[in-house]
Each structure stands twice: as structure tokens, then as C-alpha cells.
Amino acid sequence: MAPLLEPALLRRLEALALQVRRAVSGQMGGERRSRRRGQSVEFADYRNYTPGDDFRLIDWNAYARLDRFMLRLFVAEEELPLSLFVDLSGSMDWGKPNKADTARQLAGAIAYVALAALDRVRLTVFAEGETSGGAPSRGRRAAATLFSRLQSFPAGGVTNYEKLVWPIGRQRPGMTVLITDGLGESPLDPALRALQRAHQEGAVLQLLAPQELTLDWSGDARLKDAETGVEREFTATPLTQGSYLKLLAQRTDDIERAAHRRGLRFARLSTSEPIDEMVQITLRRIGLLQ
């Protein structure tokens, strides 16, 4: 099996980091500023000594001036819990380059950036419902396992965003990145609303194939839905092609507006873009990476 990401790309990804707007509260120490006080070099505050406190934190200089015990508090540094929700429904298994393959690479790249920064990554793939990506991964060594798992999930099934509401809601506050084509019949907004409620800072990355954005065929055809298998006769003319493109643009705009409304970043990506450019240009532009 070919590697999910090229080693050269991985090296470039190590120079990036997820950009969070607010402090995080992870379970383990890490490199992210936490809302808690803990061990770090960054001074946070003073408070009065109370019995039981670690007297190693007493500021003796303050005691000399004030004649009472004061404790120096430091900002704790914790890990960032990153959740990756990757759409591997039937509609993603389409296009050249394939949207599902591109989604796996994109998720892998974002996960690798997080793992390299000692963040905790939870991978979830979904179609009709969630499919756990296994236990959360942490540390750069876990990348290979995570990549392997990503590649092992087959694409297929019907997209149902409403079934994402529960797994999103039980997450601890952190960052969530949702990679999907956004073309499922069910609305995406409930899932985005759940992200907001779960205090998730994150992004919606809509991934489309170039063949969807620019139709390269015309004439009569029997259209078959990639997810449901439903078929319908259709004649592609400038008029009908215009109608399709208008509906697609409307759908995309709806997702973008909903994401911004929920405080999420949004980017529309084409599978024709190299992964390198997606990560280093587009994701940095929307402020997901730095």
C-alpha cells in the first residue's frame, strides 16, 4: 500500500501547528496554554498561601517585602484535543482525483501537524453514522498507526449529518475539523450547531472534485446517485447544466454561511489542488494552521 503522505510532505508539516483562538483544557500536559495553572515558564498570577500548597511555589522575595506567604502561579500547558470527522460516504468516492482519497490525505496531514505538536487526535469517519477511528492518538509515533487506520476505512454509504450530532456533543472542548463534500441530502447545520454547543473551535473543509465544479459532458444520460443508487434520466444542456451549477453554488454558500454563523472556519477545496498547497496555503489562509 502506498504511503498516505510523502515523507517530504511530513517534514514540511512538522513546521506547522494548529492555531487555536482560546486556551484549551486537555487531559495531559502538552504545548498548549491551558485555562488551568500549572508548570510552565509563563507567569500567570499570585495568590495567598493556604496549607497544603506546594511550598516550592512560595515567592520568597514577596515574603521579604510583604511578610506573608505568596504563591507564584504559572500557566499550565496542556495538549489540544483535536477531533477529525472525515466523510467517507458514497458521494466522496467520486471524482478524479478521488474525493475520499484526498479527504484521507487531508485528514492525515492535519492529524500529523497535531501529533507533531503533542496534541491528542481522535479520528472519526462517518457516512450513515459514525465509525470510530479507534483510541485517540498522541505523539508523532502514533502517526503511522493513524494513517493506516485512515486507509483501512472503505468509502460508501449514505451521508447522514444528523447522526454526527451525538458524537460531537460528547466531546471535550477542543478543536474539530470536519472534512466533507457537503452534498448529502440531510442538512449539515445540526452538526455544526452541535459543534458550537460543544465549544468546539474548528473548521469545515468542503472537498469537491473538479468534475463537479465544471461539467465536462453534455447530452442525454441516465444519472445514478453514488450513495443511494437511485437513477434518473437527464439531458444536459446549457440550461440544465446552469441549473445544476446554480444549485451546487447555493449549497456551498449555505454551508459557508452556516459555518461562519457557528464561529467555524470554512474552506472549499478542490481535489485538483495538491495536498501540499491545500495545507500550506488554504488552511493557513483560513487560520486553521500557522
Binding site: 458514497g90 467520486w94 474525493k99 441516465r222 446517485d225 434518473r232 444542456t237 446549457p238 445544476y244 444549485l247
Partner: protein, 607 residues
Amino acid sequence: MTVLAPLAAVLAITLPVIIGLYFLKIRRPTRVVPALHLWPSQIRDRQANVPWQRLRPSWLLFLQLLAAAALVAAALQPVLPAGASLARHSIVLLDASASMQATDVTPSRLAEAKRQVNAVIDQLGPSDRMTVIAVGPTSRIIASVTGDRDALHRAVNGITPSNGPADLSSALALAAGLVRSGDDARAYLFSDGIVQPLRSSFAAGLPFPVEYHRVGVSGENVGLTSLTVRTSAQARAAYLHLQNFGQQVRSVSLEWRADGHLLDVRPLTLPPGQGQDLVLPVPSDAISVTARLGAGDIFAVDDTATAVARTPRAFKVLLVTPGNVFLEQALRLRSDFQLDVVAPAAYHASSAYAMTVLDRFAPSLLPDGPVLIVDPPVGSALAGGPAVGIGRVRAVDAGDPLLANVDLQDVHVARSEDLRASTFGRPLIGSLQTPLVLVRDEPFRQVLVGFDLHESDLPLRIAFPILMQNLSEWMLPPSVPSHSFSPDEPVTIVPEPGATSVSVVRPDGSRRTLATGAIATFAETDPTGLYTVEQVIAGQVQRSWFSVNLFSDSISQLKPPDRLTLPPTRAVAIQATHRGQLEIWPWIALAALAVVTAEWLAFHRGL
């Protein structure tokens, strides 16, 4: 409505074929799409190769059916009944005479008549035939028994108006010559009814009925009907008559010009139906004078009149007679004759005389030229046999132009030389006993009268000066007649002796060359105005003039008659007519083209 090509109905099979094609189902390639719900449910069947499917409503199907139906309808060549009732052979007599230039109908009577004729042409059925005859001073067939509408339209539109009268008789004679007995023919006269009186030969009727379609409404016209220049002892003057033919008082201005130079402008007021005579000065050196009415009325042809002011060149004529006052007076009636009278004893041949009249005298050698010999003496070369008593005098050919207006009813001759054996020429006037007057053309125009005028009462009759006028004008026509001619009237021009070139310059500046050495008849006199005859004699150009004017009260009165007396129909069978047909297939074909265009647009817009 009827159809001309019913067999074209088989093309209607295309309609069910089109529908059938829509019943057939298209074999469509399957395309997997990520989200079917984003694709509009629009289907258009463009090709079919797998039967069958349910017929779906489609704009393209509707437009294709409509276009096919329109094309089938056009192929059927439907026709609508038109207004005119037509025979199988329609003879259109289109008046192109002077009065049809009147503009009381816009743009002119002739144009209106052409429009009506073109409308009739459009109504011709496929088996109908039409002949078009332009009626003018000389009627002519411009399209003969044809069903080719384009040719008929071209022929009618190519007719130009003449300045002459409408000779309906000759047009009817032409038409009658085209119709065979039993033909289903009908004539349609598009005219203002201002035509020359019909000849009596039509009293027996025509082999077809004639419908009169009146063109024109008004007779409001002021015209010049006469202009002559007379020379008196003191001066020359022009006598002009103008007439108001309308029913309203008309104020006009009269321009009077000599050789194009304005001499006078006179305002005139003419009561309805009244005329006015004017005497106008003519400069002594003027060649021609022109009167022009600034009437601005509906008829321009009679608003201008031209007269030649220069007196014609005189001929020297020699009368050799022992004494004949009748003959002398008759010859002096010709104003352009300069008559010398000599006794036979004083006669000697001279080339100075253009014509010689020998009364009871015959020289040994006749002069080379026109000669009138009266009662040649016995023993002369031209003398006939012994005198015979003459009974009734009669014309050998009553239609001979030399006897025009010559009434021989009460003419008596006591006795005459017996000219039965004479080889002089053809007899003009004769009797039961002997020819009395012989004429010949060769070697010169000459006349031989076999009796002494004193032994006849002919000189006492009005016929004598007329006969002498006819004979003298035949033998010696004016070199160039200076009086006014009617449009299209032939003008006889006698080239001067020694003329190397004779040509006529018409009022429009065009030049016509005539043959020299022979008397010529110039007939291209349709335009009104001044004509110049140029003869080159010994390198010198000698000019003379004649004028052409309408001068016709019957034409200038312009009022179209409501009814026209036309010859009766001689046809033995009832003339069958049918309604004219108006073909509408071009419009249907145009509509089909529009539908096909709409279908093309609908196809490309993906409807």
C-alpha cells in the same frame, strides 16, 4: 379555401413520424453523480433507438410538429378566393395613354392601374393564362397568353406612359386576334375611359366580354389647347388658347418664352369650363416660342405648348398654262409655294423649280421632278387615245390617302382622253369608260389628269382644292413641316438635295439619324416639345424645326366617364368565369421558417 397540390397531403405522414420518434426511448449512458438531488429533473429526447417510452410533453415536440404542419400546409399550396372573377384567358388592356399620367390618384392613374393589374395577376390560378396589352397611340402586346406571374409582373411594371391618345380599337383588334372561337376569354380594361372613338367595325361584337375598370376620379385641369404663330405684314404674333376643363375657378400664371428666354409672365383667372384666347408677341428672330402654365394641376402634359416661329422655306413651283384660274388658285393655297405662271410658249426647262404643273401642254422632255400634267395635248408622249364621253366619276380606291376628304359624288366630266392603254401609272380616279387620273412614284412622284378641267365641274366642287392639296403634298411634301404635330404622329421629312446627313434632335436631347436621299417618315415623336432637324449640306448644317404638342380637348378634359360604351360580346356560349385565387403558401412557409427558428432557439436554450 382550396388547395392546388392536394397530393402534397401525403407529406403529413411526417407528423406521426415525429411523434413516433418521441415515443421511442433513448439509450442513455449511465453517469454516476455524487448528489442526484442537485440535478434538475429535465429531460429532452433527441434521439431514439430503443422502443418504447411514455410520451412526455415537450416544447421541442410541439414546435417540430407545428413546423412540419406548416410546411405540409405550404406544400398543399392553399389558395383563398379573391375578389376578381377571372376567365381562363384574361386579356388585360392597360391604358398607357397621355391622360393616364394624371395624378388625381396617387401616384398616377397609370401606377394605380398597374397596381390593380398586378393584384389580378396574383389571383391567377395555375391553369389561367393572361395577355397584357398596353393601350396607347399604337397598342402593343407586352405579354402574350402566359401564366408566368413573374413575367407578367415584369411586363406590367415595365409599361411607360405615352403622350398620345388611347387607340382602344386597335387594342381590341389585337385582343380579338389572340382569341380563338370557343376560348374562355375575358378582357379587362384598366383605363380612365379617355379613349379614341371606337371604329364601326366592332359593331358585330367581340369574341369576349370587356370589363371596364375605371381609374381616376377628377377632371380638374387647365390646359393649353392651341398655339400658332401667324405672320402679318406688320409683325408676327402667337395665338394661344387655354381652357379650364374643371368645375372650379382656377388662377394660373402663364410664362411666355422665346427660344427659352422669358418674355412675359401673366396671371390668369379662368372660370370653370371657360377658355381664354391670348395674342402674344413673337420676336422677329425667334426660332420657337413656348407657353408654360404654372398651374400645378393634376396633368402636366398639356401645361406646356411649343410653336415654331420661323417661317418654313418656300418651294418654287412653275405653272405652264394657256390660262387656268382654277389651277392657279388651288396651287396658291399652299403658303410655302412660290408660284410662277408662264404660257406654254415661254416655257423652258429649269432646275430652279421644285415642281412643275403642265396644263394642256407637254414638253418634249418632262422635267426631272414632281410634275402634274393636265390634259396633255394630242400627239404628245403622254397623250391617251381619242376622247371618250364620261359617265359617273368614281374613286378607284376609296381608302387611298390621296383621296382623303375628296368627295367625288357630284363631280362630272364631259369627256376625257382614253387612258386605258396608258402605262403612266396606277389609276386614282376613274370612270366606267377610262381612268381619269393616273399617279406614279417612279422615277418621280407625278400625276396625269386625262381631261381638261374646263370640261368638268370638278373645279367648282370643294373636292378640287382638297384634291390639289393632297396631290401637291404627296408630290412635294414640306421639307420639314413647321406646324404642330400630335404625339406619336408620323412626320414626313424630305431631305434637301445634296444632304449628306439628316438627323432629328428630340426635345430630350436624344438624336435620331435618318436615311438621306429618300423621303423619311419620323415616328419617334412621343415626347412633346421642339424637334430640330439637322441636315448637313456641303459641310454646312442647316436646321429646321417642328413641334409636338398634345392639343387635345378630349384628353385634357380628363374626367373619367363612369360608363364606357364598349363593343358587345359576340360569344355564342355563356362565358364561364371563376373567382381569382390568392395563394397564401408564401406566408405559411414564412411562418414555418419562424417556427423552425424558434425551435432552433428552444433547442439551444435547452427547453
